[in-house]
Symmetry: C2
Subunit: 468 residues, 2 copies
């Protein structure tokens, strides 16, 4: 299968250029000046006039099950919000399947071709859950990393001292969890078809050193992405001080968990030394600006991290802490938000940098930097074609600035993943999106009492976290 995209605007380095692009099979074969690749032998020709072609973006951190909790949980700090999330997480495989499909569709239609699903798995049905998610991603045809959320410490462990939580049941042991992960890798890891298993310990706050380290060993053995929440909140920052007496980043580094295959969601409460460790180890910071504001987590030091040479990518985070799954929205906010942290406008992020972070940075964060994230011969063809005639991208000024700093809607015209066209004329070709919407419309959760699960904890949390 060959596809020729003619005379399309694209970003080469830091400048927009009009090029011809030849895809053969799953790869980009040729990128040449516009009008220079002959048409004749190529079966499918696409006119790139008034279009912009960019590498697919990567949603570096989400939780697909939370599609069902979109719009459900009031604004609260993570620790209290979590009590409500746990109380309302769907427990049916069918719901989780549709959550994956919905997340994939939203990703495609907002510029993404790959996502990291830090995935809730139903206890006792872990293989079945991952099977449902993978079926969803295969059905859509999106590239996906599924990193099951695993933990071996109870919920109460995620709180600083003094929160007086009731003892909750202990999850599985590290050995059980690592055995489970090996089974999942054997069953589902399928890089040739764009499906990957990642190691996803929830975070240091809910994981023993044994589990954190064991995940690192599996990541090394199978060359898989290691993905975890890190220092998202002030409470986690305090907890790390209490538990380790040193920075959580340094602790993870001492355990051997940080490296170029590691991606760390949030990192709001890291300091300059932590940033230096990221730069040294090649770990990726996944920035989730919508979620960080929605949960009041704070501002991740994105500009400082970039200046120190850290790879930074963007994530939506789950729909329970974002109430949407629009990657372009997360990228816009992540691009303009950090002006408040630095008066020197030379350090502010440009649309070109944002594209680089979302595409190449995102690819590196999911351990695929050598395969996707740039438009160049030999790279896999994960591409998004935007319609520059859409009213939300008018008038004709700087297309990249309109896309990244504007509020584009329904501008994704076509998407290719591994050379296969998944979206055409703004419609997903692989799944019945109307069926998806019917499911979302008619199978909503029973939401009664789901917003009050934090009530027993709240007074203790308030006393510990606000009284000083």
């Amino acid at each position: 299968m060959q596809t020729l995209i003619q005379s399309v605007l694209t970003l080469q380095g830091d400048t927009l250029q009009s090029v011809d692009l030849l895809l053969i099979g799953s790869h980009i074969h040729t990128v040449a000046p516009a009008g220079t690749i002959p048409v004749a032998p190529h079966p499918r020709v696409i006119d790139g006039t008034d279009k912009l072609l960019l590498p697919g973006f990567v949603n570096g951190h989400t939780h697909s099950s939370q599609v069902w909790q979109r719009g459900l949980i009031p604004q609260l700090p993570l620790e209290l919000w979590l009590a409500n999330v746990f109380g309302s997480t769907p427990q049916q495989l069918e719901h989780l399947y549709w959550g994956a499909v919905s997340t994939a569709v939203d990703t495609l239609l907002s510029g993404g071709t790959c996502l990291m699903d830090h995935a809730y798995v139903i206890p006792g049905q872990e293989l079945e859950t991952v099977d449902a998610l993978v079926r969803g991603y295969r059905a859509v045809g999106i590239r996906a990393v599924v990193a099951p959320l695993i933990m071996d410490l109870p919920f109460a462990s995620g709180f600083p001292a003094g929160c007086l939580l009731p003892q909750s049941a202990s999850p599985q042991s590290p050995t059980q969890l690592l055995t489970l992960m090996e089974a999942l890798i054997a069953e589902f890891h399928d890089p040739d078809h764009g499906i990957y298993i990642g190691l996803g310990p929830t975070g240091f706050h809910r994981c023993s050193d044994e589990l954190l380290q064991g995940c690192g060993e599996l990541s090394d053995r199978y060359q898989l992405c290691y993905h975890t929440h890190l220092l998202e909140t002030r409470a986690q920052h305090r907890l790390a001080q209490e538990r380790y007496g040193i920075s959580a980043v340094q602790h993870l580094h001492n355990l051997g968990c940080l490296g170029p295959r590691t991606s760390l969601a949030h990192c709001v409460w890291i300091n300059d030394d932590d940033i230096a460790v990221f730069a040294e180890t090649g770990a990726t910071l996944v920035h989730n600006p919508v979620s960080n504001l929605r949960l009041g987590s704070g501002l991740a030091p994105v500009l400082k991290s970039l200046q120190a040479g850290v790879n930074v990518s963007f994530g939506c985070d789950g729909a329970a802490s974002n109430d949407a799954q629009n990657l372009l929205e997360a990228i816009k906010l992540g691009t303009i938000l950090h002006t408040v942290t630095d008066h020197d406008y030379d350090n502010w992020l440009t649309p070109e940098q944002a594209v680089q972070m979302a595409a190449a940075g995102g690819a590196q964060g999911v351990n695929l930097g050598d395969r996707i994230g740039t438009i160049a011969p030999g790279m896999e063809a994960d591409l998004v074609l935007y319609n520059l005639n859409h009213p939300s991208l008018l008038p004709r000024t700087n297309p990249l600035q309109l896309l990244i700093l504007g509020r584009p809607t329904e501008v994704v015209e076509a998407v290719w993943i591994r050379g296969r066209q998944i979206v055409d004329h703004g419609q997903v070709l692989t799944v019945d999106t109307e069926a998806l919407h019917q499911v979302l419309r008619h199978q909503s959760l029973d939401t009664e009492d789901l917003q009050t699960q934090h009530h027993p904890i709240e007074p203790h949390y308030r006393e510990v976290m606000l009284d000083r």
Copy 2:
């Protein structure tokens, strides 16, 4: 003309309730429990099932001419960005007409029924410009306040000492400008048809005391809105200290410019005493979160202002500092942004508060608090009906949270302004939006060299504002 909207979800106080709503002429006549208003005598009946009805929001601050500069000007601090804005502002009446139409359409389709156009007017063609804008707003049928940007100090006056700007030409005298404003009021102020003239001195940084005070006197005499930029940037804060030795807010207050008809755009650099003055005088703070981040202006003290009893509304600001004109986007960002300024989550803004600020708060900010902004008998019927079946508002959880914290697109199903239906099935009924898009597509500005107008100023600005 009577319209009956049956069994529609709406916000009554802080709770969602299903009601019947009867509109007669331009007003809301009855609001009653769902199913209680008989159908028979009413010619137009609308089924409110799976819909949400809210009072129309007010875009409390924008500049319609900047539609043409959307996506054009790189991220820079206001003072440098302005040099590029001035260099690229459209100078043809036709462009300004379409800018008004575009701004009105974007406002309608993102939940707004009223806007404050702090309007650029072509020097020497002031009446013709306002005529073009008013024609645009009348054509769409939106409620609009047109407050021409007037100033009597040169561009260089807007910079702190040391910026060494070349002397620019002095604009018109205060007397000339005030005479002009009286002529505009006589010609165009038409409250019975939803068109209002406002007094819009650019800001203290570009206006003499005589002009600021003169505008206040006209605002008093004709009972008009007084609208001005205030302490948007750190440079303006420094300038106020240099020029007045006291807070700019206190200075405006001493001039008698602050009162319940005053609305002040931005107010990023106000202090606690300034907030107290706003609360005491009843002035409105118009919060423009997208623009404030885009230009690196900073975070306005929104939570503190609300706690002090200040009326706060939302604005998009112009499309040159926002790259969109989506009111729902500005409201979402303004709702979640301020969590970073206050650890106490009891102070965070809820979706219900956001609706109140955007509707009733916005109405008060444009001096229309007794006419619009709430759904109650006797109020004018400025209403927006949202389609809760749209995929971006699924699954069915809290509709208000989905609307305010999600990323809704194409969810506005119907809009009434002064009882007249302006939007139906998501389509604007009054103007040909395809013609608008053709104009935007084919008449884009010649953008060459428009992004470098700040170069001569930049080194001086950098030295003054960053070297400490």
